[in-house]
Symmetry: C2
Subunit: 217 residues, 2 copies
């Protein structure tokens, strides 16, 4: 059974934002926050926030607001961040390196256990104390180490073959930076896509919308 | 006046997806697609797609479906991709380099005109035919070159000071990879945030939700 029934994907998408904001409040020493204050900071209505949190059983107390620390921990728990899913990274180019170096995997429910590339120059170099391994050794590695998830920092063209190999090895969860649409080809997997192009196009839309609003061009 | 009134942010967020899917259909030689086929491929309902497109005047013809090429061009136009906004990139680390190298700025309404870093090792090196410039020369550069947008690939700690300088220089549009919440401090700007941590947490949620659904752990 799923932990929570019928939670809309919109609510789920807002959870990391709540988690992020609450984390910042914690860092700044807040212990309590009213739903009104939280809503102002997050640009949502107070009733929206109450509705969202009620999906998971509700946390607030009328008139007392939310206890920041416990709400932060609860949302972290809902997100599953207390797990430690093993992840392997495919592609040690600039993007792969940036992902490996910058992400706090441990705080997000993951542990990075391997990095793979087919570039002989990169194989054997270390990224975040993990040696870059020859992509040819993927099968060997995955037989010795269970990989719960794969992070794909590879070109679109390379993706179909690599995903097929990963799928054959039982990897069912993907953090996908490639432009290959994995879910079109497999229906027994979980994919979270990062579409940087989409984000850039939304910026473009918002700039052009604003420029025309103010008469600039 | 804004180009289109009262378009919900959810609809706007779907536009790049439509654009991406239609681009793939074009690449594969499709000239027409029914709203039913498009909806199956995109995981939306046909009526949702009709509703979305009707916000912009509507494009389909009952029984004939959509002309792929003209819908693709129209959505590109709505997104403002026929603009050429000048953008500067701040931060030439792995992430900045990945963004500079991988993004097709010209196809997304932008032109990358400058790259800045304060690391002496990086200053003077070339990324995508653009020399990395000393961050100290930002003011000089921006007086000679109008920057419509800034791309921030910098640590959270460095962001407040750099954004203040950019804001003083008249830069009002930001593609923000840093964890600094710019919109909390400025209300006359457009910000599109890329929160990779949020995406990773959503993957974690979906894995833990699926594992409990299937009894795995």
């Amino acid at each position: 059974m799923h932990k929570y029934q019928n939670i809309s994907s919109q609510v789920i998408k807002r959870l990391p934002r709540y988690y992020r904001f609450l984390g910042e409040l914690l860092d700044r020493g807040f212990t309590r926050i009213s739903s009104r204050e939280l809503s102002t900071k997050m640009g949502l209505t107070a009733s929206q926030i109450r509705q969202d949190l009620n999906c998971f059983g509700g946390f607030g107390q009328q008139g007392y607001g939310y206890a920041v620390k416990s709400l932060y921990n609860e949302i972290g728990h809902i997100l599953g961040l207390d797990h430690s899913y093993s992840a392997i990274l495919i592609g040690a180019g600039n993007l792969g390196k940036a992902v490996a170096v910058h992400m706090s995997f441990e705080k997000r429910g993951f542990k990075l256990i391997g990095i793979f590339d087919n570039d002989k120059q990169k194989i054997g170099t270390m990224i975040r104390d993990i040696p870059v391994t020859d992509l040819d050794d993927l099968e060997l590695f995955c037989k010795e180490n269970k990989a719960d998830a794969a992070i794909l920092c590879i070109p679109k063209e390379a993706a179909p073959e690599i995903v097929e190999r990963l799928h054959d090895l039982g990897v069912r969860n993907y953090w996908n930076f490639s432009h290959f649409d994995i879910s079109m080809y497999y229906d027994d997997i979980v994919v979270e896509n990062v579409h940087l192009n989409d984000s850039l196009m939304i910026l473009c839309y918002r700039i052009s919308d604003t420029s025309e609003a103010t008469g600039e061009e």
